[in-house]
């Protein structure tokens, strides 16, 4: 396998800056990640932890108030942060594609499916209307839409939610991108459709050797889909590593708490554990670790000083003072 990463984020920060600059929300703060071709990275975190802003930063389509304030965003070793809007347009949809959360709202109600699926081809590859239309039929077939020849002529309101999400997927892979970012693509689908869709994404990934970033708050999906896991809390990546290692031996107390909050078939009688307290207001983060206020293992230093990224094992790291001193036992799962 090619060892150089497809995508590498180095200390990337994206801040929302209010008019006049009086309020700064550090939605994404000092994030470093890497992903190889053919690999799947899961990014998990609760609502408001900065997952979606991170995804939009990678696409460089941030809302006007948000700005990448620091760091590098390397795609095949090339930094995308200094690129102009014009240059980014040729990368977006062509080299990196993204699937949005809401399939019901992601398609334009006034254009046919064929028009919308073929649009990136016409845009990036100069395909003619006719050939884009032909290839749109092929793409619908690839995402397993029955009778694609009739479906291309239809409008979004004539499709079910699951079908629309497949179409959004077809738009994503239309120009054979290297990297596909899926932002909670299955939250609005029911469970059977969800399973089908995840299988489809995996098949597409294998077929095209895609780098896949899966943004979700569903740890079950991470376990099924991902090779690598990054846990996000208050704009920062608090722990990364191979999924099985992180699941078996979480290094950060937040990860451990998240894992304890998953319902399990085998332990039907056990009560679910919720994490005490609320995530901090991202515009007024505490000076120390953002999780310190809710952390059962927090000590003085946690409240004073924010922990840097520390290695846990090769390929694994966490932002936690507990990791620094290996004598302190790493928090283990299911202590109760």
């Amino acid at each position: 396998m090619d060892e150089s990463p497809l995508l590498e984020l180095r200390n990337l920060s994206t801040h929302y800056i209010s008019q006049g600059g009086s309020r700064v929300v550090r939605a994404v703060d000092d994030v470093s990640l890497s992903l190889r071709a053919g690999e799947t990275l899961g990014i998990v975190g609760e609502s408001g932890s900065g997952k979606s802003t991170l995804a939009l930063s990678m696409m460089r389509v941030l809302p006007p108030a948000a700005r990448i304030t620091n760091g590098q965003l390397l795609l095949n070793g090339e930094d995308l942060v200094p690129k102009s809007d014009d240059e980014m347009r040729h990368i977006r949809g062509k080299q990196i594609a993204m699937i949005l959360q809401d399939p019901m709202a992601s398609l334009n109600p006034l254009f046919t499916i064929g028009d919308q699926v073929g649009e990136p081809l016409r845009l990036h590859e100069g395909a003619s209307r006719r050939s884009a239309w032909e290839r749109a039929i092929g793409l619908l077939k690839a995402v397993r839409i029955p009778s694609p020849e009739t479906r291309v002529k239809q409008y979004p309101h004539e499709m079910s939610g699951g079908m629309r999400q497949r179409i959004v997927g077809a738009i994503g892979i239309s120009c054979e991108p290297r990297l596909l970012i899926a932002d909670e693509p299955t939250t609005s689908l029911d469970l059977t459709i969800q399973a089908q869709y995840l299988k489809l994404l995996r098949d597409l990934q294998a077929e095209h050797n895609l780098g896949l970033i899966f943004i979700t708050h569903n740890l079950g999906i991470v376990a099924r889909m991902c090779d690598q896991l990054a846990v996000m809390y208050a704009g920062r990546i608090v722990e990364t590593g191979p999924v099985s290692d992180v699941f078996n031996r979480p290094a950060h107390p937040y990860t451990a708490a998240l894992l304890r909050s998953i319902p399990r078939m085998t332990q039907a009688r056990e009560r679910l554990t919720a994490i005490e307290g609320q995530p901090p207001d991202p515009s007024t983060l505490p000076p120390g670790c953002a999780f310190a206020g809710r952390c059962p293992s927090a000590f003085d230093r946690c409240r004073r000083e924010a922990p840097p990224v520390m290695d846990v094992a090769p390929g694994r790291n966490a932002r936690c003072w507990l990791v620094e001193d290996q004598a302190v036992p790493v928090a283990t799962r299911g202590a109760a």
Binding site: G93, M98, S106, L110, E119
Partner: protein, 306 residues
């Protein structure tokens, strides 16, 4: 569906009957038309003869019955002043009103839609604020004032445009502007808010993610979607324009339906006022009925409600 249409049509008919009664009674509050139709110092017999001729000597409920009876035969009665059928008068003035309304509508859309889009795209910036000021002035300055100011500027000081009457395109410019002014502001505001809503939608985000340029996103994906409510409003406004042009047509002496109504009121020409108001009301009622029915066809939730 049939029940729904029948019920809506019933309501529409009821509104028109109430309108006919209201206008019939209220126009009679303006006074006795015979005073304006006879010379000062006319004899009692002459006045009585005129009153008898127009049926004004009958009790009100008989007058109303006669009016409604001929209305059912499609007859709006004869004008007291012109001595010709009201319908003929109306139809002879209608082309002028249509020309004025269509030009005012074209002006209001040509100004309102681009400025609304500009304001939405540059939200919070200079053009948005300029647009807000325009909307404020457009919606709050009455059209008679706009008309008078224009006459003062373009006819009196600059002597570029004729101040009144109809004829060439020059006669049309100022009335169309004065009438379209308010609607331009209304269309601008609706375009802006509808555009803002569309620009925040997920499919616009997806269009950007596809790699479309911002111009492409606005021109292809946003514009068409944002236009839908504006077109709906413009259709209804066209009917409104024909009917609310009274002030503008009076200020510019434009020989349209609005001016006919104004003349009717000032001469106490009851059949003219009744006819113009009823036809205008009928247009609005019919348009609303059609809109209700079309919505019911589009949206099954409306159709099913009891």
């Amino acid at each position: 569906m049939k029940h729904y249409i029948a019920r809506r049509a019933g309501y529409s008919l009821l509104s028109l009957i109430l309108l006919s009664l209201t206008i019939f009674l209220f126009i009679r509050l303006t006074g006795d038309p015979t005073a304006l139709l006879t010379e000062p110092g006319a004899s009692e017999e002459d006045i009585a003869a005129i009153q008898a001729k127009f049926g004004l000597d009958q009790p009100l409920w008989i007058q109303y019955g006669v009016f409604m009876g001929s209305l059912l035969r499609g007859d709006l009665g004869d004008s007291f002043y012109y001595q010709t059928p009201v319908l003929d008068l109306y139809l002879s003035r209608l082309p002028n009103s249509l020309i004025l309304a269509v030009s005012a509508m074209a002006f209001s859309l040509l100004l309102g839609i681009p400025s609304g889009i500009l304001a939405a795209v540059k939200v919070g910036k200079f053009w948005d604020n300029a647009g807000k000021l325009f909307a404020l002035l457009g919606l709050s300055l009455p059209s008679f004032l706009v008309g008078l100011l224009m006459i003062l500027l373009f006819s009196v000081y600059l002597e570029w445009l004729p101040s009144s009457g109809s004829g060439g395109i020059l006669h049309l410019l100022m009335p169309a502007f004065a009438l379209g002014w308010y609607f331009a502001a209304a269309h601008m505001r609706l375009t802006r808010s509808s555009m803002l809503e569309v620009m925040g939608s997920e499919y616009i985000k997806l269009a950007r993610l596809k790699g479309l340029s911002e111009t492409g996103v606005i021109a292809k994906h946003a514009f068409k979607n944002a236009l839908i409510p504006v077109v709906t409003l413009a259709g209804i406004n066209l009917i409104n324009m024909i009917n609310v042009a009274v002030v503008v047509e009076t200020v510019f002496a434009w020989p349209g339906i609005g001016r006919l109504l104004y003349e009717g009121v000032s001469f106490r020409d009851f059949p003219v006022v009744q006819g113009v108001v009823l036809i205008g009301g009928a247009m609005i009622v019919v348009v609303n009925l059609l809109v209700d029915i079309i919505y019911a066809i589009i949206d099954p939730r409306i159709r099913l409600e009891k």
